[in-house]
Symmetry: none
Subunit: 155 residues, 2 copies
């Protein structure tokens, strides 16, 4: 991958150099600038396409998908209950309430639904969400959920 960029820079520099050199030999021709433009455009277009082909060559993927029958546990591991990472929570300064709301977010509830369920206003939910997102470094609720799961804050 890095090699390609190198080649790219090389070819670019070479072309520029060639351009500068040939300028003094053929610039006398009328409209040669346009011709230059077209030439360079063609060259780099083909090169770009080639590069695109190169770096995406590994598209021929054979995907073997194994289908498993959902016999017993669907997602829920029997016997092992979720244990929240309280240390991480504290180090991030996430309050219990914020985590509670975060877990409801993770369940796919909207702010309004969460507000109804917790008997608070939607604004309050939004505030908690904002603070939690901020502490997690998330910009969206989906991202917050993902981070929360990665950090062991959510099941």
């Amino acid at each position: 991958m890095k090699r390609h960029v190198l080649i790219f820079g090389l070819v670019g520099g070479l072309l520029i150099a060639t351009l500068q050199y040939t300028e003094y030999r053929f610039i006398v021709i009328e409209h040669s600038v346009e011709i230059y433009g077209a030439l360079v455009a063609m060259l780099f277009a083909t090169f770009g396409i080639w590069l695109g082909l190169r770096i995406t060559r590994r598209r021929e993927t054979i995907v073997v998908r194994e289908v498993l029958v959902p016999a017993s546990g669907l997602g829920a591991e029997p016997g092992s209950a979720f244990i929240p990472n309280t240390a991480k929570q504290q180090s991030l300064g996430i309050t219990a309430r914020e985590l509670e709301i975060l877990s409801l977010v993770a369940r796919g509830l909207s702010n309004r639904e969460i507000a109804t369920q917790l008997f608070v206003s939607e604004n309050t939910v939004k505030t908690h969400c904002s603070r939690a997102f901020d502490k997690l470094g998330a910009a969206r609720r989906t991202q917050a959920v993902q981070l929360g799961k990665e950090l062991g804050l959510l099941p």
Copy 2:
């Protein structure tokens, strides 16, 4: 495919025209030809790469092999790679593309980020999302992610 060639020609023509036009205004600057060359080169290189990436998108051979696995834990098992529940996916009529976008949603990406990453427009992402949500019976992306995980479609 034909449209791409058209766009190519159009951009090319436009660039040449612009070149010709600007020539009479800035050609007085020393070494502007080189600058022109570099500019045109850059433009067409990016365009070429884009085109290359576009036309070589997605070419995978999917081999669905039905293997019955003693379904024990569908949750996060350390060391074992995630095996998507293709049966469930098919029964819900969720396409590969939709699932692909769904997995990016689950990673916490916004529609715009997904669009950028997959080289498609934001509208397309939204369409895929809508269809996937519809098939999953989800009203929100967070809910879709949760359902997707419960159904074994997402890791």
